[in-house]
Amino acid sequence: MEVKVERQIRTGLNGDEAVAYAAYHADVDVIAAYPITPQTIIVERLSEFVHDGLLDAEFIPVESEHSALSAVVGAAASGVRTFTATASQGLALMYEILYIASSLRLPIVMALADRALSALINIHCSHDDAYAARDSGWIEFFAENVQEAYDLVIAAFRVAEDKNISFPAIVNLDGFILSHSIEPLYIYEGQDVVREFLPRREPIVKLDPDKPITIGALALQNYYIELKRAQAEAFEATPPYIRKILREYSEFSGRKYDFIKKYMIDDADIGFLVLGSTAGTMRHVVRKWREKGRKVGLISLTLYRPFPVDDFRDAVKGLKKLVIMDRSYSFGSPYAQLYMDVAATLYDEPEKPDLINVIYGLGGRDFNEYTAEEMWEKINRPGVKKIWVGVRGD
């Protein structure tokens, strides 16, 4: 693999800044966003890039997240490259338009600085917002660190705008843990470098006075279900194209990207599955536990939607036990969100591991080596199916 680090700069940025640089280097055309912690730095940096003349884009400082996504829907339908960013309550306010963006097949890219949903109001990390978008027809990536947040935003534009895909994409980065942590990373020297991987968007259809079309019509009982079936099939057909682009990006960047990441999983008895920044913590924990003779391994998802079914089934082969770590809770469901995906994915497999659901880290509660040790103790209790860790008084 050719590593083109000579056209990249080693620097230090926090996750939000990295995302802003990615949108800038992707030469985005229209940005509409509304400030919300912990996403705010993204909006601030992009405003600076535009106001300083570094980025030739229209920045629309909208009056709400609902209007943010609505404005980029209008801009994306006009054929240009669009970006927005939000978190938590902002995503909830956008919820109505999430489905419209995907159903109109608009290749919007959104960064989501994952944050817990109120009440009680909390500005720190949960995956409530990421999960809230899971059924809406958006492609969803999870970044583990600041480098991945930068890379995945750039890759997400190629994915979303690919003619075989043409769906919007979210790049999740854990609120504060990534959004506000400065990490070393490589960024490209500028837009000219990125343009080689990500040329100007070529829309399939658009609002064009020379070629009028009607977008967003009324479809009732006689057509709606056929159109939804077509959308479902189109969405389910995206993984090979996403993979191809991630491979191309891996070559381009010199950093490997695929649907899932595995660590010491091949000979493991007990596997752990995580999303986002906790993968870094767990990789460290797994290494330490291996030294203690525990046969453990780690799987983390870079692609969360569409759920990488085949890759996942492959990855868990041979595991006796799989611990699914959810940073959210689904009230009234038998298990939390990621667990239910996994259970459905593995149900038809002839041999599958026992599954345990761990709820952790809600509202930014720290997950560290000690919490991991508490988790280890609890998952080894007989008959355990669903546990919470890091909860005071447990």
């Binding site: 509409a32 229209e58 709400s64 943010a68 404005a71 829907v73 339908a77 109109l104």
Partner: protein, 312 residues
Amino acid sequence: MGFIRRLNDIPREEYFAPGHAFCAGCGITSIIRMVLKAYEGPKIIVNATGCMEVASTLYPRTAWKVPWIHSAFENAAATAAGIEAAFKILNRKYGYNKKVHVIAFGGDGGTFDIGIQALSGALERGHNFTYICYDNEAYMNTGIQRSGATPMGAATTTSPAGRVIPGKPQGKKDLVFIAAFHKIPYVATLNPAFMQDMYNKLVKASQIEGPKFLHYYTPCPTGWRFDTSHSIKIARLAVQTRFFPLYEIERGKLRITVDIKKPKPLEEYLKLQGRFRHLLEPENKHIVDALKEEIERNWQRLKMLSQLDFIY
């Protein structure tokens, strides 16, 4: 073509196809047809959810011969803002080199109520677009529920003419002034019975840079309960009774465009419409009086403001 001196000057070419699903007597198609004629050159239409959208784009057919997009109920202004920004970029960055009119339509529910935030934001940010509220004074598409635009006393399905509460207790929000005081370059009221006034205001709006807000009075036979042949008659009476004054505010200067020196009695307007029928009962005279007072105050206010060089 531009401004007209008589109705015959209105261009004949149509950009809105027949075969749509609007009710007979509906006033909405008039504004669509006139906008598409008066705004010359390339244009893009944004539609809020509502009567206009459902009656013109029942998949797989469309009545629109121009690019058209519908996203949701409350976000027509925000969607238009995004389109305007996109075409700015297409011109500046990619050499598109065409001036494109961006025109958003919303009903009174989508504008006075649920869409007012997005509208306010778009007006304040100064996007170069036109927002047209077609006001039939209730949520007609969902079955005639009261809105912030429903006049006092009118019966709707959520403000019925009950024995204790006879119609809507509250008055109508003055959205034209709310829009105007974003200090935008042009606002105007439009009425289909005064076609020349309306058409020339559309032409003027099309030539002004910045946000424009137009308030179009559209009679609704279904919701107001009148014979479909009375649409234009009722629309005319709305102006002649001073119920719906025709005026414009251009860069802060207010001008009454159709002066009504001797208004007709309000009862002539009310008696033609089922939504007001209960108001003509003797026990509801106080509501008609309140309506009349509101109309008079509004007219006097416009008259006084029209004396000023500017109001913002």
